[in-house]
Symmetry: C5
Amino acid sequence: LRLRGISRSAGLPPGILGSEPDEHAHDTTINLFNFNATEVLTESLSDADAACSSILTEKTSWMRITGFRDTATIQKICEGIGLHPLLIEDIFNTHQRPGLEASDDSVFVTLNSISSVGEKGLSQLRVSMILTNNCVITVEESPIDLFDGLVDRILKDKGRIRKNGNDYLAYAILDVLVDGYFLVLEQVSDQMEGLETELAENPDPGLLARIQSLRNQMLMLRKAVWPLREVISGLSRDHTALISQPVVAFFRDVYDHTIQVIDTAETLREILSGMVDTYLSSISNRMNQVMKVLTVVATIFIPLTFIAGVYGMNFHFMPELPMKWGYFAALGLMVIVALGMLTYFRKKKWL
Amino acid sequence: LRLRGISRSAGLPPGILGSEPDEHAHDTTINLFNFNATEVLTESLSDADAACSSILTEKTSWMRITGFRDTATIQKICEGIGLHPLLIEDIFNTHQRPGLEASDDSVFVTLNSISSVGEKGLSQLRVSMILTNNCVITVEESPIDLFDGLVDRILKDKGRIRKNGNDYLAYAILDVLVDGYFLVLEQVSDQMEGLETELAENPDPGLLARIQSLRNQMLMLRKAVWPLREVISGLSRDHTALISQPVVAFFRDVYDHTIQVIDTAETLREILSGMVDTYLSSISNRMNQVMKVLTVVATIFIPLTFIAGVYGMNFHFMPELPMKWGYFAALGLMVIVALGMLTYFRKKKWL
Amino acid sequence: LRLRGISRSAGLPPGILGSEPDEHAHDTTINLFNFNATEVLTESLSDADAACSSILTEKTSWMRITGFRDTATIQKICEGIGLHPLLIEDIFNTHQRPGLEASDDSVFVTLNSISSVGEKGLSQLRVSMILTNNCVITVEESPIDLFDGLVDRILKDKGRIRKNGNDYLAYAILDVLVDGYFLVLEQVSDQMEGLETELAENPDPGLLARIQSLRNQMLMLRKAVWPLREVISGLSRDHTALISQPVVAFFRDVYDHTIQVIDTAETLREILSGMVDTYLSSISNRMNQVMKVLTVVATIFIPLTFIAGVYGMNFHFMPELPMKWGYFAALGLMVIVALGMLTYFRKKKWL
Amino acid sequence: LRLRGISRSAGLPPGILGSEPDEHAHDTTINLFNFNATEVLTESLSDADAACSSILTEKTSWMRITGFRDTATIQKICEGIGLHPLLIEDIFNTHQRPGLEASDDSVFVTLNSISSVGEKGLSQLRVSMILTNNCVITVEESPIDLFDGLVDRILKDKGRIRKNGNDYLAYAILDVLVDGYFLVLEQVSDQMEGLETELAENPDPGLLARIQSLRNQMLMLRKAVWPLREVISGLSRDHTALISQPVVAFFRDVYDHTIQVIDTAETLREILSGMVDTYLSSISNRMNQVMKVLTVVATIFIPLTFIAGVYGMNFHFMPELPMKWGYFAALGLMVIVALGMLTYFRKKKWL
Amino acid sequence: LRLRGISRSAGLPPGILGSEPDEHAHDTTINLFNFNATEVLTESLSDADAACSSILTEKTSWMRITGFRDTATIQKICEGIGLHPLLIEDIFNTHQRPGLEASDDSVFVTLNSISSVGEKGLSQLRVSMILTNNCVITVEESPIDLFDGLVDRILKDKGRIRKNGNDYLAYAILDVLVDGYFLVLEQVSDQMEGLETELAENPDPGLLARIQSLRNQMLMLRKAVWPLREVISGLSRDHTALISQPVVAFFRDVYDHTIQVIDTAETLREILSGMVDTYLSSISNRMNQVMKVLTVVATIFIPLTFIAGVYGMNFHFMPELPMKWGYFAALGLMVIVALGMLTYFRKKKWL
């Protein structure tokens, strides 16, 4: 959980973007899809004015903006559709919680798309979506893989997306993003299965770090998805004029998925907490096993060494020493003592 | 908790079933029960059209569909009664939360039937129920044993089921499914009793895995039943025209059972958490017991070996060595030291 | 927490009692108290018809039914006053949560009376109460000791019970049952005081089992009393015509007691959780104490044995061996080493 | 948490006080303060009738009753102002939760004043306050020190108390009682600071008991103050005619303090939970430190003793034994081995 | 968490400040900023009357009072604008929770500004803000660094602050204060990253104290910010006439930030709890590692010493002793035993 930069704007006036662009930001590209049931027009644009004028009112339009390098252009487009300055700031503020601003003219949704990047943890990407009467605009921090399937569905006319309007497109975008959380859950759950096997067979110290990392991922996911609940609930209930009645049912479906994500994340987190206990117990069991065997070995030899010590004493009168079979009797005694102790330990199940 | 496949539909259009049937799905069979107080007609059908036309309006009708292999037929039947495409998808989506969609024409309920499969954990089966004016349709992922008793009650005219309408039948189906959760709780509670005895007598490392497994089962059960609470509460409150006033009381009874399941699952989970503590303490006690005895043995022999060592020294002038009874005195000293230490350890309750 | 039988009715039609009576059930007896300010009539009845006809409308009447053996008679009486079949089933279902069904004709309350049975845990008894216009009927799984004081108050005209109507009698019955929970809390709290002393003085492994058992008892108590909160809150708020305004104040008092029980049970449970920590730490402290002393003993003798070993070597040229005072010097060295180590350990507070 | 007596009334009729007075109760004294901006009249009374007739309607009046010995007189006074029998019982029931009964004629508040009694824990005293049109009556289980300052303010005309009416007096009394909880929090927080220093420097086993005791005190405080929240919220919202609008603002201030007490108690409790962890870790660290040093000592001498053992063997042909410098070579070898091991342990940071 | 002084006012009349000023309080200074889009007038004042008369009604005015030494002047100013005595007390009560009092004439907000003071913890400073028709007054316990940026924005005309009225100024002040919490979160999160590295590489006992200190800081932050939620929610919802509709959107933005602070603090706290587990496990792993190696060393030498002991016995008839190669055979046996044990330990992964 990196928070560096969360307070960047402390002391700065709100709603005003930094004047110089972020060097590390992804290059900004603008793709516009104008489509209806019969055709798709794809355009790649670079200019704010061109972008706005290319939207075809009679078609379903998706303007997909990726990369935060050219903030000026993005800001110009957003101002062009009348977005509040605070909302424009939210588009770029990667530490902002998911939020919804709905009016009869526009619906603004901002959230974080989360994807798993192997063992290292989760990566968050800022995505905002603006639904207006004419089009759906999405702004991504950097290109999100989840949208590839959606673009494919538009281009190849799979499903209903080409036959529906902007509101259905907005739904399809949110649906894909929420499905992304399921992907993360699936990957975490896959890793957990692996961990469980390792826990049983070979609990090594690195395991705890991995369990804790997954647990922290679930915390982050919950933090990201929890406010989304309200956002999507708002979309499926508030009946903004921009979303038609039949599409509201689809938003309710996304809402159910969101709740499902939260429930599952919580359950996984609780199972991971149980795994921490199991890990600690497992490590301690292994250690105890080692210590027990070693201690038993030591304990068996100590009395034997004592016997040897007794017959190593230099007293002048020790009746056993001159006996012919004394040495062998002593060895025999040692064997008997050792076997007796072994038997006792076995019976007590210490070995 | 296996989540593989939860995100299968990411990138796919919603509401559209995969075109090819799942190879591992259970074969689809359709059984139709038309009955009233005086007679029962049982039919086995294989065709969607035949199925719909065989429903007798003047009788109580239960169409029981089992197995997800032939999704096309199931989809056709559901479309025939006017079900929303998203709900049809929910029928097959085994990772979906329980849900309710009630209108005056139909009531759609989907949930997961849970059964215990021995020590390995729980198995979930998707069950959906559609109540319409003419019939009750159930769709099961694979045949659910809990329904055997219900079929028996219909065939042999036990209880009130034959004398009541479709709403009572819907209640009876839900009641049987919720009773199934009690069966799981009972089995878990039985296993817990066994565990408690083992915890006291013979805590072995496998025990923790079994406790955690039961704890995870309770987490899963809660996750499955928690949303069911709202579903059934909706049925007993919303007064859809399809459920008559006298039958609402029965749904309220099922609601109480659901709450009871949740309460009991929570209590069992908290007791299992306590058992984890007891297990850890028990293991540690046993280990300590072993270590203590072994350490005591070592501690007693160390001073004895020291005495033997002293009289094993080769100094030319050691007054004790030439003494007639020196050896026996040394042995006596050793016995006294050993007994003294034993007494001290006993008094301190270290043995 | 025994759940055997909780799912007994799975597959059976609801609202229908098993045909054969339970062999282990307590014998059914029916006692009827008809009383007013001036006189008490006590009758012992065995027949359902006789029971119902013996209720004197102009008096306050309490029909006390104990024992579940003769379910047929109990069912007949309950049907006689028009109770819903599901509620009649609830009377006998010992695993059902507490519930309330209030109409203007009757108030039905079912709950579990809990009593402590020494160290073994809690025992639950099913009690149901039906308040009608003419009488109060109680059905107990087996005779509840808590009612003895109430019978005494009726017979000896203590307090206001003889001067009030059926609604006040219903209140008095509930009040006595809720006071029974306080008795359990008191006994648990007494046992906890004993445990605290033992924890400090002599923590033995059995202690944990007793702490956990008390903790589980608090969990059970909470599970039993939590839904009671709503039940009694319903009685003190819903203003059924059967309960007069002045008596509602008394029900509110019982409600406060119920909340008090829940609060206290929660607090006791949290204190018990703290005792588990203290126990584990206490056990570990004792163990550490033992190990430390034993290890110190071993550590002191090991260097001494080494010195003895050195002078036990058989080198031909060892200058110390032929010395006159060599032996005593060696012994002296050993004493000095031992004292030095003891001093060091003392200074470090390891002893 | 002593609960003995909590169920005393089980089986007794409610609202009826035990006939014989409690031997251990504090002697009952009645002090009446009649005051306005210009004068204060102080009277000490012993009779219920005299007490009631001494209240001056045109002045602000505080009747302060302390001690539960003479329950009859207290009961008589309370009945004189028309208090419900159940409320009179609440005055004496030290285990009752805080409660509020407000009508347009009177406001009845009952709560527990909590004070810290050194290390042993908290002591609870029952205090009830009745606000009527003419006066404020307080009934204390035994004299509460917190009221000394209030009496002083009345006698010496500090602040606004003499210039205001009964409602402001009632506020001042509650304010003083709630400030008493802050005193407890302050004392607990002071003890915690001491504990933190001890934790770092010298964690001894008694420390845990003290941490747990403070934690239990926070649990008790929360249990006592949590319901007070609703009580005072009720006073500042319900607008009983007895409390004038300007004084409501003061009650809102007390409400804020109550919330502050709850928040602080919760925070302290969570910090104390953290201290339990720190304590356990601290104890375990110390123990490990000891064990490590001792084990290292043993480990260094064991190989040395082995070398001595080798040259203590009695084989006839051992080439080293007859060598002139054999003994010193052996001693040198021992020194080298010991130094080598010490260096290794140092490098590994085991010493 | 220092609470000394929290109960200072117990027994004192509310709303009345102590007569003598606090010696340790910061000197009081008053700065007044009158500004509009075109000019800024800055004045430094020392007198209450002068302060109030210098406010220019037609401009946006910020009166910034810092330091609690001269309570009389501050009180006079506050009384001048008609603030309730209880609210004036709240300005100086550093233990009071954040609060809001809004009317159509004035909005009073009081809260604690929190800043991190390195490793030692958090420091709290009391800040209150009063928004009236004519001006915004802030009272700081001592100068808050966060305001420097704000002053800079006013003087250098950055952003919109100069172009807006008092309500926007009030928003800007709250925004800066809430951003201060983000700074704390950022610093804590930075320290946590450092801790995580140390946890993995070199867990020393001081680490736990630092983790617990951060955890307590998160508890304190939550305690400070949690009530702020309601305060700012009140400002963005209640529509006091003093805050114009466009500015309400800005307050909603601050509200979102506040929720974000709470969410993040909770998440950090849960991650810190996980770090405590990791620390404990890490310490225990290191210890186990040491103990294991040492025990293995001891265990290898014990059988060797035993063999040496056997051939150190003084029996007259020991066939091995006179053998020519006996000594070397014995040494060889020792080497074989040692190697065998090493191999076994390696195979078992104990080394």
